[in-house]
């Protein structure tokens, strides 16, 4: 369906038709046929012949030489991939037209009331001018996982981080061996605990690695060895990696920097007895401890992995994500058609309802909606037909690794015939099924046109 067809359908739905034709002013049948002939030949060559050939081809094998009856069809419906595509197609057909029509209705009704409605309509309609391919490329970027690249996640992550600031050392961790620290699972994530106990008056060294010294918080100073103090546990937590290699493992070297603002706890008998944070040179002091053995714990909130946003392009969210892109493209189309329908509604009916004391909501529900129903149906059915053959957005937005999860019938058809499958028989079978699925919507549309013409 093209926009023009849709628009003419709206015109048909909105304006009352002129009376039935009278007399014989039409040209003779042969003359009519003569004028129609070029169009008919073209239609036959580029519409009817391909359909018939595709149906025939679907009963042959990949090479096109052997008749295999319904083999391709049984193959298709026993293949789990087709079932996934079928499921996705159903989701698409139900969700996408509904959302687009609803949004279009909202926009159309609202723009009737605002001042700059033309400008607003223009903006909403603008995506229609962008090709599906370009929209696909745009949304592939929008949905990127990394907040640096994908605007969707950039928004989500900045909102999230505004409420829950990210941890200072998401990537830091002790060396796997001989660091004196072990990982401990806590409610808040992974914390690191010393393997041996320290007593007041002793010092502890807590070496971590796994991040660049340039990524340390501003103000980090060269790591210093802590001085022992009576009645207190002191120590240093620092980045134990010398740039370019070298340095003594497990000792704060001159070139290594302390890790400031590290939250840590002294634990005794499973209970936290003191809390402190490290200074700019990585040193820390637990003062006022009773004599006894303590373990030091670097709490999990220091190391919480950064909030990465939503995995839009993962296997679970991919179809909703692509539908989002589709809505972006088509909302304007629905809006324009529905707005045209709205304009054709007789004002008197609305005024009469208002004079009779109906609320705005009642006017909308009881008067606008019923009068608009034919237009909404046209929009919905047009979109449903359009969605059945959705291909480009899925092909471009879904990364290769989830293309199977995102696949729809039209994409399957292409993949079976050209995109590696190289089986024109199977591809034809898929397209025949697709054709069969479109037919009911087509019949519905044609019937409606007929009804209106009568």
């Amino acid at each position: 369906m093209t926009i023009e067809e849709g628009a003419s359908a709206v015109a048909a739905a909105g304006a009352p038709r002129q009376g039935p034709r009278t007399g014989r002013v039409n040209p003779s049948r042969w003359l009519a046929l003569g004028f129609l002939a070029p169009a008919l030949v073209l239609l036959g060559a580029i519409v009817v012949y391909p359909i018939v050939f595709t149906v025939i081809r679907s009963f042959f094998d990949a090479a096109g030489t052997r008749f295999i009856g319904v083999g391709n069809y049984t193959n298709m419906f026993t293949d789990s991939q087709t079932l996934v595509s079928l499921r996705n197609t159903v989701i698409w057909v139900i969700v996408a037209p509904t959302v687009v029509t609803a949004l279009g209705l909202v926009f159309a009704v609202l723009t009737e009331r605002i001042r700059w409605s033309s400008a607003f309509k223009l903006i909403v309609f603008m995506p229609m001018a962008v090709s599906f391919l370009a929209s696909g490329v745009i949304f592939r970027l929008v949905y990127q996982q990394s907040p640096d690249a994908g605007v969707a996640n950039a928004v989500i992550v900045s909102v999230h981080d505004a409420f829950a600031p990210p941890s200072p050392y998401p990537e830091a961790h002790p060396r796997p061996a001989k660091s004196g620290l072990t990982a401990q699972k806590t409610a808040g994530g992974t914390a690191y605990v010393t393997t041996s106990a320290v007593r007041p008056g002793q010092t502890a060294l807590l070496p971590l690695v796994g991040m660049k010294d340039t990524d340390l918080p501003a103000g980090a100073k060269t790591a210093a060895a802590a001085r022992a103090a009576p009645g207190a546990v002191t120590g240093t937590v620092w980045l134990d990696f010398t740039r370019g290699g070298g340095g003594t493992l497990g000792r704060p070297d001159r070139t290594e920097k302390g890790m400031p603002q590290m939250t840590m706890e002294a634990v005794s008998g499973g209970r936290t007895v003191a809390t402190t944070t490290s200074r700019d040179d990585g040193t820390f002091t637990f003062s006022g401890l009773k004599p006894g053995a303590y373990r030091l714990r670097l709490t999990a909130d220091n190391f919480a992995p950064p909030f990465g946003g939503v995995t839009w392009l993962g296997p679970t969210l991919i179809t909703p994500a692509i539908i989002g892109a589709y809505v972006w493209v088509w909302a304007g189309f629905a809006m324009v058609l529905i707005a045209a329908g709205l304009a054709a509604i007789p004002r008197e009916a609305l005024e009469a309802a208002r004079v009779d004391g109906a609320t705005e909501w009642q006017v909308f529900r009881r008067v606008t909606m019923p009068l608009l129903a034919p237009v909404l149906t046209v929009v919905f059915v047009t979109l449903a037909i359009n969605v059945l053959k959705i291909f480009d957005l899925v092909f471009i937005i879904a990364p290769g690794s989830v293309q199977a999860d995102a696949s729809v019938l039209a994409l399957d058809m292409w993949r079976d015939s050209f995109g590696g499958g190289n089986d024109y028989g199977l591809g034809s079978a898929v397209s025949v099924v697709l054709f069969v699925l479109v037919v009911p919507a087509m019949i519905m549309n044609i019937r409606r046109f007929r009804r209106e013409q009568e």
Partner: protein, 439 residues
């Protein structure tokens, strides 16, 4: 309604015409050289290949050289990324190009079955015997008849690394796989640089990794058996290779940039940009053509980014090649002569001059290549001699080895997300392979 539709079709037809004319416009001989040959004057040879942009320009130099030599008019047609989607309909329509360059031997076999290819003339086969090892000749042959010549090789046994990341961490290029996934990767990770920028969004990069590990670990003999599906994917040797790969994928080790979820969404060449454009990771495990992808970044190959050979996992270092195979689709003198020319060291040297090209031809000297990295890559091919192998996934039926979101690509991507499931991955690979090899 009807009027609308016919108008539309007319526009569409016009569009197709325009498209066709621009496609043809890309060809054309290189103009009259100083002393143009006349042996094939008046013949037009249409060559279809996937190259565009710079790669097309480089190939055009070869076409021009042949034009100057013989006087034949050369027409180049670009097939786009998906060669079969372009050639398939042309074959069905009975209008194939004279010569086509196929990106996979799997396609060659399919086309032979469709009877779309013409066997090469004895004189071309003689040329092959002289300049190529028998492995390459067998690769282009079906049932004892030779159909294709490997004219351009992609060297896939190479790892690219950022010199800054390596010197910051104080590590050297490793010589063995155990060093690579052990000391080297761990030190890089300790230094705060994720060791590997994976391109797992493009499934073929994972099959390349698998092939290198497998060829080195299981040896060329097993490799050939697996390539022809004589041994199943449930073979213990496959399990070993997968376990080796899992040393990179292990989520506990944090060896992959952006973790498994990020890796699986990163396609080639985005992974190259991430590693060497944004300096977020230290290494990219992919073929020589990473060099071309570097053009999108500020990094310079040879100084900022260097290569080391894929380290040996088993007894020997692997050399896996991908590459493009020239075939004749029409029985014509022009096609024969052109393919014969492509098989000569002379053509390879013309092609090698601007860079970005490697020849599998054993008589092309290392000195023919313009820069240090391609010299190093070419040397590896020459020294590996008969142990060089062709990309395994490209030899498999396309439904298994070369389809987005299907077969080996998909199974290895799933394995990256769940590297503890070696058994399940093998079972899936075998099931997919069975289906594809049967069909």
């Amino acid at each position: 309604m009807l009027l609308n539709k016919t108008k539309l079709t007319a526009v569409a037809g016009l569009g197709a015409l325009l498209l066709a004319s621009t496609a043809c416009g890309g060809g054309g001989g290189g103009g009259g050289g100083a002393k143009t040959g006349t042996a094939l004057k008046g013949t037009t040879i249409e060559v279809a290949a996937k190259w565009t942009g710079q790669e097309q320009k480089n190939f055009q130099a070869v076409l021009d050289a042949f034009h100057n030599k013989t006087g034949a008019t050369m027409k180049y047609a670009s097939t786009g990324e998906d060669t079969d989607a372009y050639l398939g309909p042309r074959i069905e329509g009975g209008n194939p190009p004279d010569v086509a360059v196929l990106p996979q031997p799997g396609l060659l076999q399919q086309y032979v079955q469709k009877k779309a290819l013409k066997p090469l003339d004895a004189s071309v086969v003689a040329q092959l015997d002289q300049h190529y090892s028998t492995y390459w000749k067998d690769l282009g042959s079906v049932d004892g008849k030779t159909y294709g010549v490997l004219i351009k090789a992609a060297q896939k046994s190479v790892i690219w690394y950022g010199t800054q990341a390596f010197s910051d961490a104080g590590v050297q290029p490793p010589a063995t796989w155990n060093d690579l996934v052990g000391k080297t990767a761990q030190t890089l990770s300790d230094a705060g640089t994720p060791p590997f920028s994976m391109c797992a969004g493009s499934g073929w990069t994972l099959t390349d990794l698998f092939e290198n590990v497998y060829l080195s670990q299981a040896g060329p003999a097993k490799y050939d058996q697996l390539a022809t599906h004589k041994i199943p994917w449930t073979d213990p040797s496959v399990a070993d290779a997968l376990k080796s790969m899992a040393q990179i994928f292990d989520p506990k080790k944090n060896f992959m940039l952006d973790g498994p979820k990020g890796a699986i969404q990163t396609d080639f060449p985005t992974c190259v940009t991430k590693a060497f454009g944004q300096n977020k990771a230290a290494m990219v495990i992919e073929a020589d053509f990473v060099g071309a992808a570097l053009a999108d970044t500020k990094a310079k190959a040879g100084t900022d980014v260097k290569t080391f050979p894929f380290p040996k996992v088993g007894a020997t270092a692997p050399v896996v090649l991908g590459g493009d195979i020239a075939v004749a689709m029409k029985q014509s003198k022009g096609a024969t002569e052109f393919i014969k020319y492509l098989a000569t060291p002379e053509a390879a040297e013309v092609w090698a001059k601007p860079g970005g090209y490697l020849s599998p031809n054993k008589d092309v000297p290392v000195s023919a290549y313009p820069d240090a990295i391609s010299k190093q890559l070419a040397q590896a091919i020459l020294s590996a001699g008969d142990n060089v192998r062709y990309d395994l996934s490209d030899m498999a039926p396309a439904a298994f080895g070369a389809t987005e979101g299907k077969g080996e690509w998909k199974d290895l991507q799933d394995f990256l997300s769940n590297p503890s499931d070696v058994k399940g991955t093998q079972a899936k690979l075998e099931a997919d392979a069975k289906k594809a090899y049967k069909g």
